[in-house]
């Protein structure tokens, strides 16, 4: 645990990628496999479900710290993170645990679930007493299931590749899918031979970079295959050893959420992996993404929701065929095979080919792009003829050319402190637009400003607060921001009657006055449906 807490601190302390990789390599070389495998588990963001209600955790910490309940709330508001608040409030540590990560996870953390309240309480308090502040912090994060640290999976992969002397692609692939954090897995992970056998394991997704500027820079149109960019859930449909698996890009096994695709999987030849987008689909058009969210939110999928929001797989690529990894085949060859396969399954109505867009010139493509909103897509995907299916986000072969977001000017109405690194800075904003001479709230946004702008807005909010409702401050309606967003939906739950998708701040319009902000009619007029 000491080594892991030190690793956490080292990763947290630096913003430099190389320093992070170095710290990771040092850690993996120093600890036994049974610790390393748990570290990987947590570092790449795999979670253990919360084991204890946060209410109980806070209660026990308050008792151990000997402070009143109410001041704990004030402390939490200042820190913005439960695990950290507790670590900062507990009595000064007198020890630093030498026990390894594996011990703390397997013998103290996982058993919590089966223990009575009293056992949980005792075990936790004793754990806190054995640990120093760094260890307590990491431990609390593990217990609350909120462990997060500033490393990407990519960096962990890079470090492991260095430790194992293997390529990053091999490590990335071996880390995909379902695996148990056991010493044996770690040994296989860094082993030289490649007896990879996990039947459910997906491939790392090939992700596109956004295209900046015009596509003419990409050369001849004939060198590119263009598809519409669909807005659904990027997934892999896997058929191996007479079993079907559906993985989302978030590396979640979602097979059960899509019975339609499970049925489809049964029709695929053995050893097939299709990369595609799951979309709610009706009458030849995708349904708005909000419909999909309705479906994802359900625990139980009844016949009504399945009939209301049916899904299809829009197939992009074929990456395994006949049990062989065909990612190195040129794009057009993979697509040819895919088209044949999809054609043979057309009668199911569950799979469609993401058809290539026919165009003669970049100018023509630019004109077609303006149809995106009516087609309910987000723009284009541009894929180079002959390109392999690569690992992760790589520049050069695949580009996404998204449509410009909607943009409107609105007025800051409410502000609230953020969480984590933004605790005690006013970074969560609610914006309003004019409706018959009155400003009505219509969207919230958290991102888009620079740190320097955040600091200035923070100062302004504190000086211009009109009213406080708990943590929320109503401010003088003066500051104007340009808000960008992707889609517009009618929503009876919002006072403005509309909801927007993925709102974020495009810029601070310091040149505009509140009276110059947009009206609700302007926004309604933007909506295509």
């Amino acid at each position: 645990m000491k080594a892991f807490a030190d690793l956490y601190a080292a990763l947290d302390e630096t913003t430099k990628t190389n320093a992070k990789v170095e710290a990771l390599v040092g850690y993996f070389r120093a600890v036994p496999p049974e610790d390393a495998v748990w570290a990987i588990h947590f570092l790449i963001g795999r979670r253990i479900k919360r084991l204890i209600e946060t209410r109980k955790l806070a209660e026990w910490a308050i008792a151990e710290a000997g402070i009143p309940d109410w001041i704990f709330g004030d402390c939490y508001n200042a820190v913005g993170d439960l695990g950290e608040t507790i670590a900062l409030l507990l009595p000064a540590p007198v020890a630093s645990s030498e026990k390894p990560l594996r011990y703390w996870v397997e013998e103290r953390l996982l058993p919590l679930r089966q223990w009575s309240d009293e056992q949980q309480h005792q075990s936790l308090v004793f754990a806190w007493r054995e640990m120093d502040e760094r260890q307590r912090f990491v431990w609390n994060k593990l217990i609350t299931g909120e462990f997060r640290v500033g490393v990407s999976q990519n960096l962990v992969v890079r470090a492991l590749a260095e430790v194992a002397g293997l390529s990053a692609e091999v490590i990335a692939h071996r880390l995909m899918g379902d695996w148990n954090p056991e010493a044996g897995f770690y040994s296989q992970l860094i082993a030289g031979d490649t007896g990879d056998t996990d039947v459910s394991r997906p491939y790392p997704f090939f992700l596109a970079y956004p295209l900046e500027g015009e596509p003419a820079q990409l050369g001849e149109p004939a060198e590119w295959i263009v598809e519409w960019k669909w807005d659904g859930i990027r997934s892999q449909l896997i058929r191996r050893q007479w079993q079907t698996f559906v993985w989302s890009r978030g590396e979640e096994l979602v097979t059960e959420r899509f019975p339609e695709l499970q049925a489809l999987g049964g029709l695929l030849p053995e050893g097939t992996v299709i990369d595609g987008e799951i979309l709610p689909w009706k009458e030849g058009l995708p349904l708005p993404f909000a419909q999909m969210q309705r479906r994802i939110g359900r625990k139980v999928l009844g016949p009504k929701i399945l009939a209301d929001v049916p899904v299809v797989l829009l197939a992009y690529d074929l990456i395994e065929w006949g049990g062989a990894d065909i990612r190195e085949w040129p794009l057009e060859r993979r697509r040819g095979q895919l088209a044949e396969l999809v054609g043979s399954l057309a009668s199911t109505g569950r799979i469609l080919l993401s058809a290539p867009v026919a165009f003669g010139s970049w100018e023509e493509l630019a004109r077609l792009r303006t149809e995106s909103r009516d087609r309910r897509v987000e723009g284009f995907m541009l894929k180079r003829v002959g390109s392999p299916y690569r690992v992760g986000r790589k520049r050069g072969d695949w580009w996404k050319w998204k449509i410009e977001p909607y943009a409107i000017d609105c007025v800051l109405l409410y502000a609230q402190a953020g969480h984590g690194r933004r605790a005690s800075l006013m970074t969560d904003y609610t914006f309003g637009v004019w409706d018959n001479g009155e400003l009505v709230p219509f969207a919230k946004a958290y991102s888009g400003l620079t740190n320097e702008e955040i600091a200035r807005v923070d100062g302004w909010v504190r000086r211009n607060t009109v009213e406080k409702f708990g943590p929320v401050r109503r401010v003088k309606p003066e500051l104007v921001f340009e808000l960008a967003f992707e889609g517009i939906q009618k929503s009876p739950r919002h006072r403005s009657g509309i909801a927007v998708r993925f709102p974020r701040i495009a810029r601070w319009r310091e040149d505009k006055k509140a009276e110059e902000a947009d009206t609700i009619e302007t926004i309604r007029a933007l909506s295509p449906n």
């Binding site: 913003t15 109410w70 001041i71 200042a78 820190v79 984590g420 740190n451």
Partner: protein, 345 residues
Amino acid sequence: MPLLRVDQDGLWCEAGGFHIDPWNPVPKALITHGHSDHSRAGSAGYLCAEPSRGILQLRLGAEARVETVPYGERRTIGEVSVSFHPAGHVLGSAQIRVEHRGEVWVVSGDYKLSRDTTCTPFEPVRCHTFVTESTFGLPIYRWQPEVVVFGSINEWWRANRENGQCSVIFAYPLGKSQRLLSGLDPAIGPIFCHGAIQRMNRVYRETGVGLPDTLYTGRVERGYDWGSAMVVAPPSAQGSTWMRRFGAASTGMASGWMRIRGKRRHRPMDRGFVLSDHADWPELQKAITATEAECVLVTHGYRGPMVRWLEEHGKQARALETRFEGEGAEAEDVVAEDTAAGDSE
């Protein structure tokens, strides 16, 4: 009528006819210490503790009329008796004691109880009403002894030197920087200061505070190798073009706010060291108890929690609306001009 109350210009003493730390120009200003949220230019006359003179004169300009009084010496102003007592915050910082017909008020300004060799230690003063700051008035704020903090700063400097990397630490030019200097180990390498800090160092040295030798960053030959240097710079220098000369430096910040991970990470720097000029939670409680005051007025910082806590512990307490800002305000006060003015050594 209370002895002191807040009017539009600051903390006003009717019986004495003066303001304490006013935020607007007034005829007569008593100043607790030289940070910009407590000492503002434009008043007709100033009175401060003796060791604060150099700082105030630097801050307010040579033309400002600054009178001083030694710590502990009583002065009669109007109908009240006034004296200044060490607050342990920065050089010359004082708590101001005001007595009127047997009733005693003490205005703390900003203060700390923990060790700091660059200023006179805090001295508890008995009073009926204590006006306290509460910058770090929550139990999450607990400082480690400065020797531990200095140890980790020197260790960081040494490690950077091994990598041939310059160390740049950001600290407020008045107070924090000099305390930091007092803890640096000059055996590790040369210590450089930004011009704004050099100017303040000179005032400290002229007032008789011993500091390790420091060099002005602007006075090095071309192609100087910064690999073993420690540079002390104001927070406003962070991310500025001024930083380029140090190459791929490792950066750190010394502040009480560094106790909170979110605050550390909000700044793009490598290390946050928890070092404050202000009292932490246990020190605030200890200082307030030591005054034996029946009534406590809480100015800036976490006022709400502090008032409630004090009330639950049998004191009369209430929040006082002022324009003091505590740790962090000092950042703005530096127009971080890196001129050679400070380089007279």
